[in-house]
Symmetry: C2
């Protein structure tokens, strides 16, 4: 057993060249190697089944081929779509994706960045939404600094006051456009299932929505906070029903929450859209199969992942770059005229 891994030294010896030459042939350096030797090395490497030891390369080059991807929950379609985009780009670039999940715990995010730093990752994509928690934010920023100091690159998806490259979805504008579209359907009284108030994403979408209502001269919405998950949406919807609000239309700040909310409405016999219209945000792929089809603000999630990966792999300047991605209002069957 344990037929130890073939090393470069073995290949070199077998091919009758020096270690240096073998290395140059097998890993394209700037230096040229004569065709004869090059062929010989290539052939022996092939023959021996040589696979370079990535750790040794990482150590010698002081940089690895790892790209970190940090998400809250990989089963959430929002994150899995972004993950798909990131992995596609990374794999095309010959890099390897390290997946870390935080379970929405800010400390865990810091830990993950630190681990990735220990592994000398090339780059990190942070896909979770930032919070307004100052101390968590500060520790994360410190860890990110340490990482960039060391030559790593970082990009965030969604708002991030971290001075890194960022892919920013049009949360505010999307919320605003959605509000206008819904008022145009004739709705006057709204409720918002707003997620936790300390999440930037949630805040921005809410703020945009409020602004849109104001534009249209509608009354401010009833705002119900809750967890940023399906079950959070479910609970928030129950709360809404219990509140005796006279809202005719409810906006859940994520599709996932909207799904939960629809389940709650269904259970309570509230018909969508006849009794209540509902809209979400993100346009996750699973929406294709909900009934009634959910109105939402479409974000190109996979593409956002690709863009983030692109930013983080591109050498780029030292300026933090920001790519804005617009959301597009998509009205479907879950929102009716009022």
């Amino acid at each position: 057993m344990s037929a130890r891994q073939v090393t470069l030294a073995e290949v070199a010896k077998q091919a009758g060249v020096s270690l240096a030459t073998a290395s140059r042939v097998l890993n394209g350096s700037t230096r040229q190697v004569s065709e004869e030797l090059s062929d010989r090395v290539l052939r022996t490497a092939e023959q021996l089944g040589y696979v370079p030891n990535a750790s040794a390369q990482a150590l010698a080059r002081n940089s690895s081929s790892l790209v970190g991807l940090v998400v809250h929950d990989i089963t959430d379609p929002y994150f899995s779509c972004i993950a798909a985009g990131v992995t596609r780009v990374a794999e095309e670039a010959g890099l390897v994706v390290v997946l870390g999940t935080t379970g929405r715990r800010p400390e865990r995010e810091v830990e993950l960045v630190s681990t990735l730093r220990a592994h000398r990752a090339r780059a990190i994509v942070l896909a979770g939404s930032r919070t307004t928690d100052r101390t968590a934010q500060a520790r994360l920023a410190a860890e990110i600094d340490a990482f960039t100091e060391q030559g790593g690159r970082v990009a965030c998806v969604s708002q991030a006051k971290l001075g890194t490259d960022t892919v920013v979805p049009g949360n505010r504008a999307g919320g605003r456009a959605l509000a206008r579209a819904l008022t145009e359907l004739g709705h006057k009284r709204f409720a918002v299932l707003a997620g936790p108030s300390e999440l930037f994403v949630a805040r921005d979408r809410l703020a945009g929505f409020k602004a849109g209502l104001a534009d249209a001269g509608a009354a401010p919405p009833l705002v119900i906070n809750g967890a940023f998950t399906r079950d959070g949406g479910y609970e928030a919807a129950l709360e809404l029903l219990a509140s005796k609000s006279r809202a005719t239309c409810v906006f859940a700040v994520t599709d996932v929450m909207a799904m939960g909310a629809m389940a709650a409405l269904r259970e309570r016999g509230v018909r969508v859209p006849e009794d209540m219209s509902i809209a979400g945000f993100d346009d996750i792929p699973t929406l294709r199969d909900t009934v009634p089809a959910l109105s939402t603000v479409r974000l190109p999630l996979e593409e956002m992942g690709e863009i983030a990966a692109g930013l983080v792999l591109d050498p780029g300047g030292d300026e933090a770059r920001t790519v804005r991605v617009a959301g597009e209002v998509v009205l479907r069957a879950s929102t009716a005229h009022n």
Copy 2:
């Protein structure tokens, strides 16, 4: 810029001890170190913000803290659930998950194992279903052998004739039990949307289902092959409708395919379950929010991921272990009496 990483040597020097001692303190070796020195080292490390270089450790120890996870498509809830299970266990064990996606291409799977081997991953979890393609299978087996020779461990989720540890869902038994449950509802004529015929998972579920029908004395089903995706289910359902089959109940071998099929039925005005009953397999979480709720065979997906990770991280014997996971028939609103 680039305030180079703090090294062990720096910590050792600063603390006035030898490299060896510092290493022993900071990475728990078998050797003891006096409390005084130990304290001093710990303090300086803390103070300097020392983070061990994982590549160097991997090189010196000839083993890394990487665990590979190979899936076909991370946006598929089936895989993302398994991924969640695997990452949870891996992270608890202080390991780091490397995510590779194959896009269902067998060559890519081989590449990924090879990459993981280059990185001296501790272990690999292969979550995609195996195919009956002989040559692809052989190359994969060779790569896996190389990896295990080198001390790595491999586990597969779902059927795998690869001689590795395996988590085997009760595909056959589940299909059979489902068939029986459906015949008990009074259905006599069935169709199966069976996925590609070369996939073991698809074949086993189909075979079990057929056996169950036979048990109940029902006629063999109409079998329609297609892609193993939502759109494959959609297409297959259209084909079914075009076929003028008189089936009253259709079994899609995965929930994801069933979702596509339901969409097709809905579009064509076929009511579920009044005009047609439908059942899937897996019980992916997104089913919670489909209407009508889909009958299915529940598999504990996250748990399967956890088990696979457990197998692969546990030293274990040299015997290939197999853990069977039973599926449980769950009848919901999508299947009616006939």
